[in-house]
């Protein structure tokens, strides 16, 4: 099962290394990882996508909790939540492909954010599934580069993960 863990972490050097090290040492996998400071600069938020059965996920959350710098954490996938990932795709576009690529981007509510004589750079935001569907939809177009931010998530409704 895929889980999205949201972690509030002391914004100290070495804290991130400890989280990543934990996954490596104990053989847990990381599908994606994003981290940045929150509105409180002493706290970082880390969003981590991992996979495992219930027992593995339970161990992961317990082991994360044990790290001294981890302040709070939640498994967003346990309740209603919103998940977003940002992707930028640079594609090669011949004159006759341009219309088609533009239409495809529109369908996925993507935006063309840069343009050259031979390329389009498209930004798409959504769930990881949606981003993958977009890549599928581009078939026939030559992808030069994709850049993905990794997943961020937040609970729906009034539930929050904050201090």
């Amino acid at each position: 099962m895929r889980h999205i863990l949201s972690v509030l972490l002391e914004n100290e050097s070495g804290a991130l290394a400890r989280v990543v090290g934990l996954f490596a040492q104990r053989g847990y996998n990381i599908d994606s990882l994003t981290v940045a400071a929150t509105e409180d600069p002493t706290i970082s938020r880390l969003t981590l996508v991992t996979r495992g059965d219930d027992q593995v996920i339970e161990q992961i959350t317990k082991q994360l909790h044990k790290l001294i710098e981890v302040v709070k954490l939640a498994d967003l996938s346990e309740s209603a939540h919103i998940e977003r990932e940002l992707m930028m795709v640079k594609v090669k576009t011949t004159a006759e492909q341009r219309e088609e690529v533009k239409r495809c981007a529109d369908i996925f509510r993507g935006q063309i954010i840069d343009i050259t004589a031979n390329t389009y750079t498209i930004q798409v935001v959504g769930t990881s599934d949606k981003l993958e569907a977009f890549i599928q939809a581009l078939n026939g177009t030559q992808i030069l580069e994709t850049v993905r931010s990794g997943v961020s998530g937040i609970s729906r409704g009034e539930r929050t993960l904050s201090l």
């Binding site: 070495g14 400890r18 090290g21 040492q25 317990k62 909790h65 981890v70 302040v71």
Partner: protein, 579 residues
């Protein structure tokens, strides 16, 4: 009194470090100097509150600090230089980590501006130690030193204890740069709240389950010793009249001479302890972690048992074996609450069922009962441990190394008190025994301290005989010399048709002469009749270090031994018998 004359004193980073240790109540620091810690050593020299013990290898410093912690319950302190000093300490840090021992390790580091340049004696000690510490930190500003020392002790000693590394770049301790010194009284971290009392509802549920049991067992581990809860455990067990088994780390948590004690459990546990576990209907695990050396194959583990598990570390609960009634909390308050509830309800277990259970246990006790073969030609290691127990009236601190001798000590020295059995259970570190004995002896000079070792293990830190001379540490070394890396040989006998690939120790030193060369007393024992007089003499030489080189049966194996891949109660009972 006005507050005007309480201006904080101005101290250098190095002096603040030492003063903070003194304010923390530290009496001894074990260490070894070098470039990055010279300022600190100079500050040490200029005061007399904190004493320094100079070892001969940094690994020994960590084991001394570790063993002091195991005996006293307080964090031991290590001071080493950067680079090789720090890396030499790694094995000792890992040893403490695996057994949850509180320790503060202060490592020198190159100057801040050189970090990352591959400077002379630079190693990334934060990176190296990260997987083997409870926490590590580096000093960025000298004025933070008192706070960071306080934080290091707080983290090391609270909750599930463990080692903390404090990395100090040399420019944080410059003698001419002084700062106001104040040692924090206490500390609170928003991200760390370790002291749980246990959920009252869960405790009640646990007690109800335990009281309904027909075949209960109390399985107590090192957490009872670390949590100083032996007394509560003993009272509870006696009130309920349930059998008690201790793990290797928990020996002494429940008195071995008590009739309710059924011995150690696990790989080399007693026949009865492993049978009781396997057949139990309720297992009450207290401060134990279902280690693989206890459970044998987890799939076959105790099929009929409801498991109650108290541990301060939630990650230890349901990690390998699912707990039906988990209680996250410090062992002591949880057991106190249980006793309190028991007192109120005045309930007890079903007398008939319990009587039958004890009847069954009595039969199991007769099956093996710790017997071992006698040999006309050789001293038996088990007999040596029994004799040491007699000569020390069962009241010594016993440290050990790793191997067959360790298991014989665990099985045959009947520990009646906690904190007396000091061994590297989790990491299994050969070389632990002698420095560990030294750490205990230094703090308890009047106590009898015995190191049970093997001719392989003792050579891993034999240089410490020199430290013993310098500080007059009169420990007694019981070298169970079988001429083999005996535990390796045992596995080779059992699994590799006795092909002794590198398990034979050729060219052993003359340990008697070696001990004498270091200024100690050496006694060799090769025959059974020499043992008693040798022990007599050794223990009469109160303040002397005596190295007893005792030649024991080289063919002996440790039994019982769980059959790999089997259930808890599947065991070899001797070279020719199995369950």
């Amino acid at each position: 009194m006005t507050s005007q004359n309480t201006q904080p004193e101005l101290l250098s980073g190095g002096a603040m470090l030492i003063r903070a240790l003194a304010d923390e109540g530290v009496e001894y620091v074990y260490g070894y100097p070098g470039g990055a810690v010279l300022h600190i050593y100079d500050a040490m020299f200029q005061q007399h509150q904190v004493k320094h013990v100079l070892v001969r290898h940094e690994q020994a410093a960590t084991h001394m600090a570790d063993a002091y912690a195991r005996a006293s319950g307080k964090a031991g302190v290590v001071l080493v230089t950067s680079g090789p000093g720090a890396t030499n300490a790694v094995t000792g840090i890992a040893t403490a980590y695996m057994d949850s021992i509180p320790m503060v390790v202060i490592c020198g580091q190159v100057m801040s501006h050189l970090i990352g340049d591959d400077a002379f004696q630079e190693t990334d000690m934060l990176g190296i130690s990260r997987p083997i510490v409870k926490h590590n930190m580096s000093v960025r500003r000298p004025e933070d030193i008192p706070y960071l020392v306080k934080k290091a002790f707080y983290i090391a000693q609270s909750g599930r204890p463990g080692p903390v590394v404090l990395d100090i770049p040399k420019d944080m301790t410059i003698p001419s740069q002084k700062f106001p010194y104040e040692y924090p009284k206490d500390i609170k971290l928003r991200s760390y709240n370790p002291n749980a009392k246990g959920h009252p509802g869960q405790i009640k549920k646990a007690l109800t389950t335990l009281l309904a049991a027909k075949k209960p067992v109390l399985y107590a581990g090192g957490g009872v010793i670390l949590g100083q809860a032996s007394e509560e455990l003993t009272v509870l067990a006696r009130k309920l009249n349930v059998p008690v088994t201790n793990t290797l780390m928990g020996l002494g948590a429940y008195p071995a001479s008590d009739p309710q004690f059924i011995g150690m459990l696990g790989m080399h546990g007693s026949y009865e302890a492993n049978q009781v576990m396997h057949n139990a209907d309720v297992i009450f695990a207290v401060g134990a972690r279902f280690d693989d050396r206890v459970t044998n194959a987890t799939k076959k583990f105790c099929p009929n048992a409801t498991i109650i598990h108290i541990d301060i570390d939630p990650a230890s609960i349901s990690k390998t074996i699912n707990a039906h009634i988990p209680i996250v909390g410090l062992v002591k308050p949880v057991l106190q609450e249980m006793l309190h509830q028991l007192e109120k309800n005045k309930s007890e277990l079903d007398k008939d069922a319990l009587g039958q259970w004890w009847q069954q246990i009595k039969q199991w006790r007769e099956v093996h009962g710790g017997r071992y073969d006698q040999s006309p030609s050789h001293l038996k290691p088990q007999a040596v441990i029994e004799a040491v127990h007699r000569h020390t009236k069962g009241d010594a601190y016993v440290t050990s190394d790793v191997g067959q001798h360790q298991m014989f000590a665990a099985q045959y020295y009947k520990f009646d008190k906690p904190n007396r059995w000091i061994n590297s259970g989790g990491l299994g570190t050969m070389g632990f025994g002698l420095p560990a004995a030294m750490g205990v002896k230094l703090h308890y000079p009047d106590a009898e301290v015995v190191c049970v070792t093997g001719e392989g293990s003792i050579q891993m830190n034999i240089q410490e005989l020199s430290t013993c001379k310098q500080y007059g540490l009169g420990v007694k070394i019981i070298n169970l010399n079988n001429g083999y890396l005996g535990m390796v040989k045992q596995w080779q006998d059992m699994n590799y048709d006795s092909r002794y690939s590198s398990s034979y120790m050729d060219s052993l030193p003359d340990f008697v002469k070696l001990a004498e060369a270091y200024g100690h007393v050496g006694i060799r024992v090769t025959k059974a009749e020499e043992l008693e007089p040798a022990l007599e003499r050794a223990f009469a030489l109160k303040d002397k270090l005596v190295f007893l080189d005792i030649h024991v049966d080289p063919t002996e194996h440790v039994y019982p031994m769980q059959i790999p891949g089997g259930a808890m109660n599947e065991m070899f009972l001797s070279k020719t018998e199995r369950t």
